[in-house]
Symmetry: C2
Subunit: 244 residues, 2 copies
């Protein structure tokens, strides 16, 4: 049945997959801007017009690759998290962040595709939303678990942000106090600021020991959303004083 009626359908999904694979290969090698339908078709031994039976336009192919990239990143992050699911929140947080960084460094062009400048005139369709949310959902799950246990002091929210935090918290994590929700949203964006600067070369000749730097920055980020070592109660570690 699935083979009989699928003789054609199966061929279709196979060709579709082959196209995406070859496109992904070109994407990884040359980047999104140099992804050429004709080159993909050429490599697959077919003519360019035949490709339009599978993807109505170049942008549609890109959209498919975007979703795949989000899913690949999400899966990588989730897999890394699985292995330390029993550890404390700071460790889980750090492991997930480092997995995201690792994926980004291993797939810079795909990272650029999803977190870099959007292709001009291109608006990500809603179909990308679920895949795109995976990392964020994973991270906020960790934060929720952490706050289910011990609470932690966070800076008070300005009055102007209260409604925003309440609204955002309802969709995302109703059990989290507004301070944490806002802090998380910021940390979420800031995490990709750290990663983006590294992937896009902004740290060249600036930061050398990227691993150590990232580890430290991510730990601080974790503190910012209220993740603390079990024995901690305040804002983390001893301090040093500077100034005259």
């Amino acid at each position: 049945m699935s083979t009989a009626r699928g003789a054609r359908a199966r061929a279709r999904t196979e060709v579709t997959a082959a196209i995406k694979d070859e496109a992904r290969r070109q994407l990884a090698k040359e980047g999104a801007a140099k992804l050429s339908l004709r080159a993909v078709a050429r490599e697959l031994g077919m003519v360019s017009s035949a490709l339009y039976r599978y993807f109505p336009s170049r942008d549609d192919l890109l959209t498919a690759l975007i979703i795949d990239a989000y899913d690949s990143l999400g899966q990588t992050a989730e897999a890394a998290h699985e292995k330390v699911a029993d550890a404390g929140p700071i460790r889980r947080w750090a492991v997930v962040c480092e997995a995201v960084r690792g994926w980004a460094l291993a797939h810079p062009h795909e990272y650029a595709l999803i977190y870099g400048s959007p292709v001009p005139g291109y608006a990500a369709p809603d179909s990308t939303v679920p895949a795109a949310s995976r990392v964020a959902l994973l991270l906020i799950e960790i934060v929720r678990d952490a706050h289910r246990g011990v609470g932690v002091a966070l800076p008070r929210l300005p009055a102007e942000l209260k409604p925003e935090a309440r609204r955002l918290g309802q969709d995302l994590a109703p059990d989290l106090p507004p301070e944490v929700v806002m802090a998380f949203a910021a940390a979420w964006a800031q995490l990709f600021g750290l990663i983006g600067f590294e992937v896009f070369g902004q740290f060249n000749r600036v930061v050398e020991d990227r691993e150590a730097f990232f580890r430290h920055a991510v730990a601080q980020l974790g503190h910012g959303v209220g993740l603390v070592f079990p024995q901690d109660t305040g804002t983390g570690g001893g301090g040093s004083r500077s100034g005259s």
Copy 2:
């Protein structure tokens, strides 16, 4: 002199400027990927090949636009800072950050050009470095001023990061303690994470009140590098406790 010998030279700089202006216009409207040499030439009433007398390739034109964008952003930030040069560090920090955000939102395509994914196969030449550093230098100047006065407690640096911080601090701000140097590097990247997420649409349907959110996040960022309100001594503001 400048008019006599410049009859040709002046025409050249004028045409060069006209090309950049038109290119910038197309960049602002359609984005870098759709910037077409032929379209620029067409709009200027000349033939495309003539344009190669002024810019040897499309990438060279883009490089010129990149430097201009960095300079435009740097100047905007510096101008905003001038007006509050006498204020306290937190205010100066916030004003500069908000100026950067404002510029990014007003010039999204130019922002994408300099802080988004780099054009594939394109490596920013060293000539862009000075212009690119302006914002960072401005921000660290604020941090230095702040730490020249009162010091503030920052989390201790892990041992593995000490050498990195020392090295980076030598080039950047020898008078700053290593903790602050590292915290600043992170805050610098994180700032552009916040702005990038907003400009590139990652906050769509997530964060609504962008101004308030950014103000709050940036204040936290400032605290992270040791900027405090004069009356403050610790890690800022009262806290609220969450959890069961």
